[in-house]
Symmetry: C2
């Protein structure tokens, strides 16, 4: 037997194992090598047999013995959609950790589905990576069972802040970010501060707007529902909702945008109306994408440490893979701190508007 | 023998094979399974043996029989550096083709080295992808031999336009792009047109500037060396060299920037001097990154079809993998067309400057 062959036939004595591979084979009425083939994602198993074996692996809570040698030097990274403006920041973070660990990164996109396809899970089982990092997406029950029975750990990197119950996950402090951005505007002297929000079904949008509200309330300022506009995270809504805010006779002197792209859309709205940033109107973004430094004027924004979050997710998944086998994955939620980066898109309010 | 086992022991009758696996084993003084282990990237082979076998594989021009079943459903994508502003456009293109073909993308970074490390090549040999797409980097002789002996095809996606001699590669028409950008400015009435170039050691920079020169010369305009500034492809040099051009008493009324980031740096230089774009000075970029649409004013630029180029590279590498085994890889160079995208950063020259 070479070092790269599976070793699960030697696991019978392990105390935390509820059933051995041989027992599962007996119960399924197949040979032990057939169960091994299913675990390895081999194609030469009849679909009905595969389904029966998978079902028994799940009901018995079978977990493959951790055998470093059977793992491929890979780490899987799955995106909800690669179109996201910050996908690159995340890829960089996972790549940094993978490179140091001598691993390569396998990239997949669930193409807008909340969970990657069934084929994906089979491919992951077959290629046996050290772990899986999921960005803004999760796994369904059977996918979780599939990975768990192969002892392939997974972590959700979830800047939206809405992870499942017992899923290890990494996020950011969105509420604090909204608070810091709005406090900054209050401290500059602004009293009428508008907000352009991301989609309300994403928890991160809600948290940012709640932070905005908290800043206004603790400063003794009224929260005017008419000054809070709800859209999505794209440039276009920043422009359109920016125009709605700026076209008001009692327009705000400053705006907290849900993310950097919305802030840039707001720039365009201000430019069309001949309003100067920050002399006539101030704006704060969220994310601190590279583009925030490149625009004129450079954008004051809340930095979300996307690369560090991705690094943390990758490190956590490797750690889960090294730790001894457990009955259930650890429940872990880590939120990394956001921080305000002051550039030149914010200033004191114009005299007429104060 | 299961379908996922290597099949090279059955290749002895093939006519184009210069040596069989058995002959190489005999010459190396090892068993055929040992040669097979080397081909599969197994760890359990003594380094000296591995070196001897690799050397014989190379000198005999051994090429593994193409056996679809032995390939992993992967395609490798290697970047010179992931920091590149357009890496995401490339990843998307390769991902599009991979997804349609039921493959996942393995991402690596050669971390600024022109060729990925030795470990990388061993890992690729071990994971047996359908092919390798290299972005702005190449392979050394031993890496090429390693991949060739495993029948793993590779294609260089090379926007810089400097591929090796017999390497299949995909590029873009940089010269035509520089020509189109500058002609556009000439047609608007500009007579003093400056240029900010990328690094001269990259062929794409030279081609773009040569296109700029050709447009001036065919319009009967002088090429003034003092109006051509050379930097790198970053925002910072666009700003600094933009200031140098705009601080001249006889400043140009329009500038052709080497890429979009330099154009944005130029925006900042103009803004600092209180010059409006395009009323006081026009600027054209190169690439058409998403950010070109988001800035104020939206940037006129030469679109480089990065996603389509990456798709073409991925399709070509899969095609090379499907075609029958050949003695040497096809020499292929495809350049996809660039195109001018006119937005609002360009206009007629100011009256005083014409």
């Amino acid at each position: 037997m070479t070092p790269s062959e599976p070793t699960e036939t030697r696991t019978e004595a392990r105390p935390t194992q509820t059933a051995t591979l041989a027992e599962i084979a007996r119960e399924a009425g197949v040979s032990a090598p057939t169960v091994s083939k299913v675990l390895n994602g081999r194609a030469d198993v009849a679909p009905a047999t595969r389904t029966r074996v998978e079902e028994l692996l799940r009901t018995h809570g079978y977990r493959r013995r951790r055998a470093e040698a059977t793992r491929s030097p890979l780490i899987d990274l799955v995106f909800h959609e690669l179109e996201s403006a910050w996908a690159m920041e995340v890829i960089r973070g996972v790549e940094n950790v993978a490179r140091d660990a001598g691993l390569s990164v396998v990239l997949s996109e669930s193409a807008g589905r909340l969970t990657p396809g069934r084929t994906w899970a089979d491919q992951v089982a077959a290629r046996r990576p050290h772990g899986v990092v999921l960005v803004l997406s999760g796994l369904d029950e059977s996918q979780r069972a599939l990975l768990t029975s192969r002892s392939i750990p997974f972590v959700v990197m979830d800047p939206a802040g809405d992870p499942g119950a017992d899923v290890p996950s990494i996020g950011a402090t969105n509420w604090q970010g909204g608070l810091a951005a709005t406090r900054h505007l209050v401290e500059l002297g602004h009293r009428r501060i508008g907000a352009i929000s991301g989609p309300p079904q994403m928890m991160c949008s809600r948290a940012r707007i709640d932070g905005y509200r908290a800043a206004l309330e603790t400063a003794g300022l009224p929260v005017e529902p008419g000054l809070i506009k709800t859209g999505d995270f794209h440039h276009e809504t920043g422009y359109r909702l920016g125009r709605e805010l700026l076209d008001r006779p009692d327009r705000p002197t400053a705006v907290f945008a849900g993310n950097d792209l919305q802030a840039l859309g707001f720039y365009e709205a201000a430019r069309e109306l001949g309003l100067r940033i920050p002399e006539d109107v101030s704006v704060v973004g969220f994310d601190d994408l590279p583009v925030a430094r490149w625009v004129g004027p450079p954008l004051t924004t809340v930095r979300q440490p996307l690369t560090e979050m991705a690094e943390a997710a990758a490190r956590l998944v490797l750690e889960l893979g090294r730790s001894p086998s457990r009955e259930a994955p650890t429940s872990t939620r880590v939120e990394l701190a956001t921080s305000l980066v002051v550039r030149t898109s914010t200033g004191a309010p114009p005299v007429a508007g104060s």
